[in-house]
Amino acid sequence: MLSLRRKAVNAVMLSLTGVCTFVAVGTLLFILGYLFVHGGSSLTVDFFTKLPTPVGEPGGGMANAIVGSAKLLLIATCIGVPIGFLGGVYLAEFGGSAFSFVVRYTTDLLNGVPSIVIGIFAYTLIVLPQGHFSTLSGGLALGVMMIPIAIRSSEDFLRAVPVSLREGAMALGASKAKTIFTVVIPAAKAGLITGIMLNVARVAGETAPLIFTAFGNRFWSRGWEQPTASLPVMIWTYAISPYKDWKQQAWSAGFVLLMLVLTINVTARMILSKRGHAAR
C-alpha cells in the first residue's frame, strides 16, 4: 500500500519535472523555429549589403544596422571589459573582506538596474551636454551594462584558479603582481574570454538603452559622434510599423541577431569545454 503511494508520488513528480523541462526547452526551440521560418526564409544577400529603402519601395537591407551594432559593441567592450576585468582582478586578488562585500553588493545592484535607466544615464552624461544623439553614448550605455557581469565573471574565473598554483609561483620568487599576470590570468584565460563573449552576446540584444542614445539612423552613420542604426532598435522600429514588408524585414533582422548571439554563445562554450578537457 505504502509502496503504491510512493510509486504514484514518484510518477507525478517525474512527469511534472519532465513537463517543466520540456516547456523550457520547447520555448527556445519554438522561438528558433518560428524565427527561422519567418525571418530565415526571406533573408537575402541584400539584407547584409544594402541600406533600408523608403516606405513602399521593395528590397533594401540593414547593412547600416549590422555595422552600427558592431560599432556599438566595440565601444561597449572597450569600456566594459577593462573596467570589469581589472575590477574582478582586484576583488579576487586584493579585496579586503568588508570592502569587497560592498563592491560585490553594489555590482549586483548595478546589474539589477533596468536597462532603460542605464540609457537615461548615458543620455544625461553625453547626449544632453552634446545636444545630439551619438554612437558613443549608445556604446557607453551598453558598456556600463557590461561592467557588473564582467566584474563578477572575471572574479569567479580568477578565484577558480587553485591556490596551489599561486603558491607555486610565489615560492619561485614571483611577486604577487607577477604571479597574477604570469600564472593566474593565463590559467583562467579560457574562462575570462568566455565570460567576455557571453557578456557581449547579452548586451547585443539590448534595445532600451539605445533608443535615446544611439537613437537610430536610416543611412550610414557619419561617425562615432553621430547617431547610428542598430539591429535591436531596427527590429523594434520595423516590428511596430504598419507596413508588411517592414515587418518582414524585422523578422529577418531578428533572425540575424539571434544567430549572432547564438554563435557567440556556442563558440564561448566550446572554448571553455575544450580548455576544461585539456586541463584535467
Binding site: 596551489s164 603558491e167 609561483a169 615560492a171 619561485l172 620568487g173 593565463p186 590559467a187 586541463a279
Partner: protein, 280 residues
Amino acid sequence: MQAPSPQPASDVTMRSQTFPMQMAEEKKPAGELSKLSATNLNFHYGTFQALHGISMQVYDKRVTAFIGPSGCGKSTFLRTLNRMYETIRNARVDGEILLDGEDIFKLEVSALRRRVGMVFQRPNPFPKSIFDNIAYGPRINGSVSGSGIKDHVEQSLRRAALWDEVKDKLHDSAYGLSGGQQQRLCIARALAVNPEVLLLDEPCSSLDPIATAKIEDLIFQLKDSCTIVIVTHNMQQAARVADFTGFFLMGKLIEFDNTTVIFKNPAKKETEDYITGRFG
C-alpha cells in the same frame, strides 16, 4: 583546537626554549655548518598559537626531516623558513630565523624565496608546457638569458632525474605527466632557480610507492648540492632519507637529533611513544 592551559604550556615552552639550545651546544656534530638557524620562534594564526618557541639548526648539505602528528606545526614551521605563511591573513611570527647568518625577515621576500625553494604536498605544475614550467623561475627572475635557457631547462630536468622521460615532449602540457613525474617536474622547477635550500612539504603524500622511491633517490642525490628540509607523515621515509630529524608535537619541537638517535634511542618519552606507534 584549543591552546593548552597556561600552566603546562609555560612549563613546556620553557623546556623547548632551552632544550634545543643545549642540544646545539652539546650535540652539534663536528664539521656541520648551520645553514638555517631558528631561535625562539613563535607563530600565531589570529589568537591560536601554532608554534611555541622553536629553536633549531638546519645543517648545510644535509637532509633534515620533521615528523609529528597532523596539526603539530611541522608544516607551519616549514612555511616560515621561506615566509610562505605571509599569504595567510592574521598570521604573525616573532623570533629569529637566520639564513647564513642573515635575518630572513629583513631580506626581500622574493630574494629569500629564490634562495629557499619549496615543493608542495600535491604536485602543482602550471598549466603550461613542461619546458615553460621549468623556465618559469629563471624567466621571471631574469637570471638566465634567452639562449642559455634551453640548456638550463635540460640541466634542471636532469638534476630532477626527469630528463630521459620528458626530453621528447618538452612542449607538451605538464598535465599529461603522471603524478610522480609531475612532482619531479615541480622539484626540477624549484631547482631551476638554483636554490640553496629546498623545502619539501610532504612531497610523496599523493604518490604511489614506486614514485615515492624515485623521489627519495632524488633527495639522496640532491643533498650534494642543496640543503633539504622535508616534512613527512611517513616515519620510515624520515628514517630512510634524513640525516637529522625533528619531532614536533602540539606546536613544540620536542626533540631534534641525528636520525639514528631519534629512531633508535630517543631522549624523550613523547618521541618514543610516537615512533613506536603508541599514538598519532
